[in-house]
C-alpha cells in the first residue's frame, strides 16, 4: 500500500494551537480535493481541524504544568482514501477514565476526547517510553 508521511514539530505553547489545527485541516482539504462532494470534503477537513485542536490543547495544557513545555510532534500519514494523524508529546497523558461530561451540570472541561472520538473513525491513545501518542484516522 502506498503512503506518504509528513512530520512537523511545534512548540508546546497555546499560541501554536491554531497553526496546528489549520495545518491539519488544510492537509485534509488538499488530500480530499475533488474526490467527494464539497460538503463531504468540508466535513473531512473540519474533523481533523477539530481533532487536532483538541489533542494539541490537551498536550499544551498539561505542558504548562511542567517546568519546560515539551514540543509536540505531528505526523500525517496519507493513504489512498485514509488520513491518519499521530501526535506525540512528553507531557501528562489524556485521562481516558474520565466519563463524558453531563451538560446538565454545566461542566467547563472534559469535552475534548468526546469530540475527537465522535469526528474520527478510529482513535488510539498509548504511552511509550514516557511519550504520549494519540493516533486519529478517518477514511473518505
Amino acid at each position: 500500500m502506498n503512503s506518504s508521511n509528513i512530520t512537523i514539530t511545534l512548540p508546546g505553547e497555546l499560541r501554536f494551537i491554531r497553526l496546528a489545527s489549520k495545518i491539519a485541516s488544510n492537509t485534509a482539504s488538499l488530500f480530499t480535493e475533488t474526490r467527494k462532494t464539497e460538503a463531504e470534503n468540508w466535513e473531512f477537513a473540519h474533523a481533523f481541524e477539530l481533532a487536532v485542536s483538541e489533542a494539541f490543547t490537551n498536550a499544551v495544557v498539561h505542558a504548562k504544568k511542567q517546568a519546560a513545555p515539551q514540543p509536540v510532534t505531528i505526523t500525517f500519514t496519507l493513504e489512498e482514501r485514509k488520513l491518519t494523524i499521530a501526535m506525540r508529546d512528553s507531557n501528562v497523558p489524556f485521562s481516558t477514565r474520565t466519563p463524558s461530561p453531563d451538560p446538565e451540570n454545566y461542566p467547563e472541561n472534559g469535552y475534548g476526547l468526546l469530540l475527537i472520538r465522535t469526528v474520527m473513525d478510529t482513535v488510539t491513545l498509548t504511552r511509550e517510553n514516557d511519550t504520549n501518542i494519540i493516533t486519529m484516522s478517518k477514511t473518505l
Binding site: L14, S53, P107, E108, Y111, L115
Partner: protein, 115 residues
C-alpha cells in the same frame, strides 16, 4: 479573534469574529459584558469560524455565572462548524439558540421585561 460589544439599555450584543479556542478563551472571558455576570448578552456567532471544547467550556462557564446572577446568554447565527460542537456535546440544550440576531434581541428584551 476580535470581539465587538454593542451595549443597549438592557442587554449587550457581542459579536465574535474568528476562533474561540484555548488561546483566545481568556480574552473572551475578559470582555466587559461577558465578565459582568449580571449582564444579559446576545452573542452573534455569524463570523466565528471555529469553536473547540475550550471555547465551548468558556461559553458554558459564562452562561452558568450569568444564570446565577439572573442574567443569561442568547446565541445567534451559528455556522455549521460551531453548531456541530454544540450538537455532539449536547450543550445545545443549555442555550437559547436563534437563527438571527434580531430574533435573539427581541427575545432578550422580552426576557428582561419578564424578570
Amino acid at each position: 479573534m476580535t470581539i465587538t460589544e454593542t451595549t443597549g439599555s438592557t442587554h449587550t450584543i457581542v459579536t465574535i469574529c474568528g476562533t474561540l479556542d484555548a488561546s483566545t478563551a481568556p480574552d473572551f472571558r475578559n470582555s466587559p459584558a461577558i465578565a459582568d455576570p449580571s449582564r444579559t448578552v446576545v452573542i452573534d456567532l455569524d463570523k466565528m469560524d471555529f469553536l473547540d471544547s475550550s471555547g465551548l467550556g468558556a461559553l458554558v462557564g459564562v452562561l452558568r455565572r450569568k444564570q446565577e446572577a439572573n442574567a443569561t446568554i442568547l446565541l445567534s447565527c451559528m455556522n455549521p462548524p460551531v453548531r456541530k460542537v454544540f450538537d455532539i456535546t449536547g450543550t445545545c440544550k443549555l442555550f437559547h439558540i436563534f437563527d438571527d440576531t434580531d430574533a435573539a434581541t427581541d427575545y432578550a428584551a422580552t426576557y428582561l421585561r419578564g424578570r
